[in-house]
Symmetry: C2
Subunit: 345 residues, 2 copies
């Protein structure tokens, strides 16, 4: 493990000359010394010590990617959304010559501790709540960027999507297909203002505008075990079917919920889309190969990650750069899981 000092000795130059060569500051070194040093570097396969650099330069070239985990949940990367987002960030970071640390935390203290102990140069967050964000911004003086967070505060750098429009598009699609009794399924969240609420808001307001109301009994918030929750919904659906007070279509705020729901119905003899229509959210890779193809609200996860990183690196490059936020569009992708309502009961 050769060091700058040793290279300097072998080359008969000062350590700084070598340092400049290593860091590509060629304007500061004469051609001949440069070439000579290159040779020695090559010969010994010199690799810089980044801890030392981080310490001396007060910049680590590490980008942190922080996921908020509800402790109970294990393996946040099991979620395709998180995995694709993190994977895109990793590639981006790496391409910029930075390093990528991934971390799941259960709160803002843990996140701050992580960022500070490694002297991280910037960080991107997935799914932080407003209170955490405020604290994180107060506790850290480095560029931070948040995603999918809802706040009233304009000063918070956030890259999100138009969740409300997503809810609207879903409702419009179902209304267009003649459905009048609709259901809504989402993961439970603790936050008052969250993307789930926005989606619900858009969904509900579109129904209202059509003179329909979304019944409280048709709104399901899934807690600990989504699979069990979905099964319960399907069971309840069946047992209510005779009462004629049952949705003919469901909007779920995640494709995975939609897959489970369609499957649960299938196992109970209810076919999608003949008997029930289902819309998902995200447009995951499997949405198109699922049978039936899943109608869903599509968002561009990779683009979101890239935009977040663009904004982050702009601020890393220029700390005086303004705080940036963006709201990306969502679109309806109609496949086969939604169909015209047939009145045959």
């Amino acid at each position: 493990m050769i060091t700058l000092k040793e290279i300097a000795e072998e080359a008969g130059v000062s350590l700084m000359t070598v340092s400049n060569v290593v860091n590509g500051k060629i304007s500061k070194v004469s051609r001949e010394k440069r070439e000579q040093i290159y040779k020695i570097i090559k010969k010994y396969e010199y690799i810089p010590n980044y801890s030392a650099r981080s310490l001396a330069a007060n910049s680590s070239r590490i980008i942190g990617c922080v996921l908020l985990g509800n402790q109970s949940e294990s393996n946040l990367l099991m979620d395709e959304y998180n995995a694709r987002f993190a994977g895109t960030v990793m590639d981006y970071v790496h391409q910029q010559g930075y390093y990528f640390m991934l971390r799941s935390v259960s709160g803002h203290r843990e996140a701050t501790e992580f960022l500070r102990s490694w002297n991280v140069d910037g960080a991107v967050f997935i799914g932080m709540s407003y209170t955490y964000i405020k604290r994180l911004l107060k506790e850290n003086r480095i560029p931070l960027i948040f995603t999918d967070s809802y706040t009233e505060d304009q000063e918070i750098p956030n890259i999100g999507i138009d969740d409300r429009k997503g809810g609207r598009l879903a409702a419009e699609c179902l209304l267009r297909h003649g459905h009048r009794s609709l259901g809504f399924i989402c993961y439970a969240t603790k936050d008052e203002i969250s993307l789930m609420h926005q989606r619900l808001l858009g969904y509900r307001e579109t129904l209202s505008a059509a003179g329909l109301i979304l019944k409280e009994a048709h709104i399901h918030r899934l807690n600990t075990d989504p699979a069990r929750g979905i099964a319960a919904i399907a069971d309840a659906h069946i047992s209510s079917i005779t009462r004629n007070d049952v949705p003919t279509a469901y909007f779920t705020t995640a494709d995975r919920l939609a897959f489970s729901l369609i499957r649960a119905f299938y196992e109970r003899g209810i076919m999608t889309p003949q008997d029930i229509s289902v819309i998902g959210f995200d447009n995951l890779t499997s949405a198109s190969c699922f049978i039936p193809g899943l109608t869903t609200i599509a968002q561009d996860i990779e683009q979101k990650a890239k935009m977040a990183m663009d904004a982050l690196f702009r601020r890393i490059g220029d700390p005086a750069a303004p705080v940036e936020s963006a709201m990306l569009d969502v679109t309806l992708v109609e496949r086969e899981s939604t169909a015209m309502l047939v009145m045959d009961r």
Copy 2:
């Protein structure tokens, strides 16, 4: 950003006393000084600088997770296998009080550079080829653990699964269902010895034992664009159907290929399992909610990751510990995508 030195000054003790308190070496510090120092640490929310520690102690507490990427491919975490493996490793590492760096590389040089520049304490690799592994072990003196690598060399620490048995189980299942003309679909690999070959080997030898041969024309190795490759296979299948020389069942070495294949057949009017049987590999989360439920060779990704980390940390804890390898079992999970062959043509 308070430092040990500043805390020492405020407490009127030496820097080393504070350091010992921070590192829990309480046997070296008197109770009263300890308590006093704790207070100051709390008051200023002291957070250790890990770059400095890494430099001084020559141990970074970083664990690297290295993915081999075929440069062209982007976002390796899109693959559920990689994501789940990496996610499990992340949780494990974190639980041990270590930090997690994730990195995709295109070769051993890049990997070594990464490991050395951060002075990584240990690393786990996904999908390295034999030649890379040999070089990595030569170039790095830290504990490394490989997964799913095939080598003749016993000295290589590898955690894998019984891929050959996987192939055998798939073949047996299809034979049991009366199929006599079988197909095989996998991703192309450059390596001579790889898990794909093992699966093919187990598959083929089981057919041979039953007096059947796996025709070369029925073996498909997918290159750049799997989706397109799958479509081509389905098209070819259809156009060969009249010649009566077409598989009645396919074994694909990845669930995602199986999903695509089933979908491609579906779009062409060929139904699974009525017209064709399909077996996948991995037992991804969506295998059970797909319609039809996917018959597949199941492996325990999380367990594999945990075993790899157990072995890694044993060697980090004791560098003299022996090199460990393991081969985990696989099982057949029969769902709905395989059925008895019906002779109606």
